[in-house]
């Protein structure tokens, strides 16, 4: 059976942009190119795999004279994230990143960066948390900051890593938002795998991305301000409410940014959800990051067997696009949420995405059957056989034949 295999959002511009290059890059190198073209002023670095691929790529660009920025190697992640927080406050476009427990070591700085509304952009090379030591991807590292006021996006390809890093600055630095942004890239599958990536000419990025401007929040002797004084219970509710309002304004700013970026490059049409073969689907799998690659393979295998299955990739996790998720995904019979993470003791003992999806659908008049699949932990591959198993479970769920709505896939008994 011939199935039209087409990535709905992969449509290229009618003709290549003048001055555009196509390079074979890892996701990490693609981000480094984005930093170069975004004129990032300061990069603070501290090595941990897989994030360190970015810092190596940036260091090489600086050494080769391709990039001009302050490059500070900190003595640990806590200092690393403090450096960019302060740099951001004095008007420097800043980049930082980490992975796994390295990200956790920076947690205090991560929390205050969001509290201070400083639009630092960070790359989280997703990696399983220690212990045991493991390099493979799980999403629990980045997800730990989900309540703090960080914008959070997951990307799938090298191309999207480049695009998202540029867009991240646009959204984070927008005065309506002014929040830090974490761009998550799956360890190994994206951070260390090379894809063909189109790098636009600098004029395109310049046109898209205005200069970083904190306005009257700039920390400078000519603009005497005190940042982050001690406060008491009379003040914190209002300060938290300001963060809440900024996050509530973010979805519209994200939509605008994608619209503009799409006009300039022909890429990134969909800001929040990328659907694949969902038009006539009864069942749809949902996931974040590189899980979409085996996800689409699974969809095609199942379609070959005559099942109406699709895949939906969630691109932004914070702000969580609940309205769009419900509007676009409530039409299906069943959703199979693939969680490359765990949330021990959570409702249903499911993963984070599952819990968020269920919350998003609570008020919807149409609620598809939802089954959670804990899969791909520690970087384990998700195979076509796993896909068949997940589909059978999802069907059983739709038939009311399941005694649990959370299933660990591929776990050895």
């Amino acid at each position: 059976m011939a199935i039209a295999v087409r990535r709905e959002t992969a449509a290229a511009p009618l003709k290549p942009l003048e001055g555009e290059e196509e390079l074979l890059l890892t996701g990490s190198e693609a981000i480094a190119h984005a930093l170069r073209l975004a004129d990032v002023d300061i990069v603070a670095a501290y090595p941990i795999r897989p994030y360190d691929a970015v810092m190596q790529a940036v260091a090489a660009m600086i050494a080769n004279g391709q990039m001009d920025c302050e490059y500070i190697v900190a003595e640990g992640e806590h200092s690393q994230f403090e450096i960019v927080k302060h740099a951001s406050a004095v008007g420097a476009r800043s980049f930082v990143g980490s992975s796994g427990v390295g990200w956790f070591y920076a947690f205090e700085a991560i929390a205050v960066t969001a509290g201070l509304r400083l639009p630092v952009v960070a790359n989280v090379g997703n990696r399983a948390l220690d212990d045991p030591g493991a390099f493979g991807v799980e999403h629990n590292d980045a997800l730990a900051v989900r309540d703090l006021g960080w914008l959070m996006t997951w990307v799938e390809t090298g191309q999207e890593a480049f695009d998202s890093a540029v867009i991240a600055y646009k959204v984070a630095e927008d005065p309506r938002v002014s929040l830090p942004c974490a761009v998550s890239t799956d360890g190994a599958f994206l951070t260390h795998s090379q894809h063909l990536v189109k790098i636009p000419p600098k004029r395109i990025v310049d046109q898209f991305l205005p200069a970083y401007n904190l306005g009257d929040r700039l920390f400078h002797p000519d603009n005497p301000i005190t940042i982050a004084p001690q406060v008491d219970q009379d003040w914190l509710t209002e300060i938290r409410k300001q963060n809440d309002a900024a996050m509530r304004r973010a979805p519209e700013v994200i939509r605008e940014a994608y619209r503009e970026y799409h006009q300039l490059t022909g890429r990134q049409k969909e800001p929040f959800i990328e659907e694949y073969m969902t038009d006539d689907a009864d069942y749809v799998f949902v996931g974040q990051g590189t899980i979409a690659m085996p996800g689409r393979v699974i969809v095609r295998r199942l379609r070959e067997q005559g099942h109406k299955v699709g895949f939906a990739r969630l691109k932004w996790f914070r702000p969580f696009p609940a309205d769009e998720v419900v509007q676009r995904l409530s039409r299906f019979k069943g959703l199979g949420i693939i969680d490359r993470n765990y949330s021990f003791g959570s409702p249903n003992y499911g993963g984070v995405l599952f819990t968020e999806f269920r919350a998003a659908f609570y008020d919807s008049p149409r609620r598809p059957i939802m089954v959670d699949f804990i899969a791909g932990l520690g970087g384990r591959e998700v195979t076509a056989e796993n896909g068949l198993e997940m589909f059978q479970i999802l069907q059983a769920g739709a038939a009311g034949d399941l005694d649990s709505n959370v299933h660990w896939i591929g776990v050895r008994e």
């Binding site: 929040r217 940042i227 009379d234 209002e238």
Partner: protein, 388 residues
């Protein structure tokens, strides 16, 4: 009167950190434990937002006493009562008002006292003398003055503001006497017998019990009528909403060379430095060493104190190399925070008289030498421009 008919009563203790932290804790606990002997229940707590580890900073402790657990519950899980039946002030210099958080400016010392309530002050001054500094209220209340345990001046340096000022843990019965003052004003909260029981249990000394009972007799109660007291204006404040506040947790800072018009630190002060401008040798030590950058340059190149910014730490008096050129004196001798150099400039003799009145030797033999010294700073550019 509200205090008699209530089923629960709130008491606050206003003290100076860090010196009086233990004293305040003992008083608020004493109120609860004393009332417990009278069959009541209660809770005692420190104001969570205070940082009483800073020298002299006005801070608060609270005690709430109720007839039963149900009545008490309405006072639990609170940071502080909205108003109090009795406010106990353990340093009389705080009668001029206090600011323990920068946001709200200086506030009256009797701000929380309810109609018919009491303001208890430890002081060897007469109630009327204290009342000159205490903000007027539109309703009647009682000013209760607890005298020093033995006699004035014993527990603090000569000329200091308060016998309790800079109290560390003299174990001089001030804690028991303050609890006894509550009993004297409002026996319905706790009785003198309960206070004396506590003294007996805690110290096992009959002399202590007798001393507290004797002080109880000397506690003065002065009915304050509406409109009696100081009419000094206090700052008003309103809490802005989240749409009015600056984003990014930002507040205005001062431009170099300017002083904060809102946050004035003087209520931390029990004593203030007086400068003898005649003998100042312009050596810059006070200007340099003051932790709060309180000193400004006068036209002669000597240094004057900006009293609104001075916390009374006495570092200037300690570093000044000229005998009696900077001397710490009782804060309650002064009505306001006006700089004193203009007084010296317009009427030097009257100013010298002020120094003499505070027992400060004028050292006329040092004046000639002082006059010959050259100014280091010139008004006002040196201060406004900064040094680096």
């Amino acid at each position: 009167m509200a205090v008699t008919t209530a089923a629960s009563w709130s008491v606050e203790v206003v003290y100076r950190g860090i010196f009086q932290k233990r004293l305040a804790n003992r008083i608020s606990r004493g109120v609860v434990l004393g009332a417990r002997k009278d069959g009541k229940v209660g809770t005692a707590f420190a104001r969570y937002g205070d940082s009483p580890e800073r020298n002299g900073i006005p801070s608060k402790n609270f005690a709430v006493v109720a007839t039963d657990e149900v009545e008490l519950e309405a006072s639990l899980a609170k940071y502080e009562p909205e108003n109090v039946d009795v406010s106990i002030v353990v340093d009389d210099t705080m009668c001029k008002g206090i600011e323990s958080w920068a946001w709200y400016g200086i506030q009256p010392i009797n701000k929380l006292v309810v109609p018919g309530g009491a303001l208890v002050v430890t002081s060897d001054k007469e109630p009327d003398a204290l009342l000159e500094h205490i903000k007027v209220k539109p309703y009647p209340y009682t000013l209760v003055v607890v005298p020093s345990p033995v006699h004035a001046g014993v527990f603090a340096p000569e000329g200091s503001a308060s016998f309790a000022g800079l109290w560390v843990d003299n174990d001089d019965n001030t804690d028991f006497n303050c609890v006894a003052a509550v009993a004297k004003f409002a026996p319905q909260i706790l009785t003198l017998e309960s206070v004396l029981d506590i003294v007996r249990e805690r110290t096992n000394e009959s002399a202590r019990v007798a001393a507290v009972q004797a002080t109880y007799e000397q506690i003065k109660m002065r009915a304050v009528l509406p409109g009696e007291g100081s009419t000094v204006e206090y700052e008003e404040y309103t809490k802005p909403g989240w749409t009015q506040m600056r984003e990014g947790i930002i507040v205005e800072a001062m431009k170099v060379g300017t002083r904060n018009p809102i946050y004035k630190k003087w209520s931390t002060r029990t004593r203030r430095p007086l400068v003898n401008f005649d003998t100042c040798i312009k050596c810059t030590q006070c200007w340099l060493q003051c932790p709060d950058e309180c000193f400004e340059v006068t036209p002669e190149g000597t240094y004057e104190v900006v009293y609104e910014a001075c916390i009374g730490c006495s570092v200037c008096a300690e570093v000044c190399p000229v005998p009696d050129c900077i001397t710490m004196v009782n804060e309650l001798s002064f009505e306001n925070n006006d700089n004193l150099y203009p007084q010296y400039a317009s009427d030097p003799d009257a100013y010298r008289e002020l120094l003499t009145r505070h027992g400060i030797p004028l050292h006329p033999e040092l004046i000639e030498k002082a006059k010959k010294t050259q100014p280091v700073h010139h008004q006002p550019a040196a201060v406004a421009g900064g040094e680096d």
